[in-house]
Amino acid sequence: MNQCKPSNPNSTSQGRERDAVNDANETGDLASGAEDAVQRAIGSQLRAVYDEVVNMPVPDKFLALLSSLDGKTASRSGSDLDKES
């Protein structure tokens, strides 16, 4: 059932994930090979579907929002804040 180990390289907790996976994988019976195949298919389709959404471009308004928040923190003027929100 290794497919539930996320492939995401940004994850910061690989060790703990592996423990969790092992906890959830304690069935170890005859069907485990078949279950692995089904679950691998589910895991890869889930990631494919989700990655399509993750890879959608982020609208510029969020970058503008962060700049205006940042500007407000830096200058304390607050005058930048209303431009983009």
Partner: protein, 185 residues
Amino acid sequence: MTDPDRFKEALLAELQSLRAFAISITGNVERADDLVQDTVVKAWTNMNGYTEGTNIRAWLFTILRNTFYSDFRKRSREVEDDGSYAARLSVHAPQHGHMDLEDFRRALATLPDDQREALILVGASGFSYEEAAEICGCALGTIKSRINRARARLGDMLAVSSSAEFGPDADAFAAMASAGSGKRD
């Protein structure tokens, strides 16, 4: 004190993930964007509540999820039409939508919200079970059981749909799926 420049950079790096998670729980890009916007403002205002060196994605997802359940769900119910729940993650990028994933999208959309959420957090967003439990504010065992039930259900549904579409060849898949599901509570 959290350094604003580093915080901003980290926040920027997580925007795509945040937005994807927002889409998966709202099922609607517009609402997801409102949710992300509120989350970004809250995160920025509370940046000192973030401990540098810890997982900022988990911290942001928690804020987003809490915002959704406290503010958004109430509001969205008022405008929710019945069809839109089926839209969970069927919101695809115009050029990238793959037809062969349609069955999976449909199956995913029929899962109960809590099961789909747990599955996405662990199976697609890169969180550990422990982190997912923290994000959802529930016990580790609850997350594990949601994920097990989600996987069993998806296995059953996809086995049925593939045997309907591809005939006898899919029987092996169906047999595997039923062997693989239902052994754990």
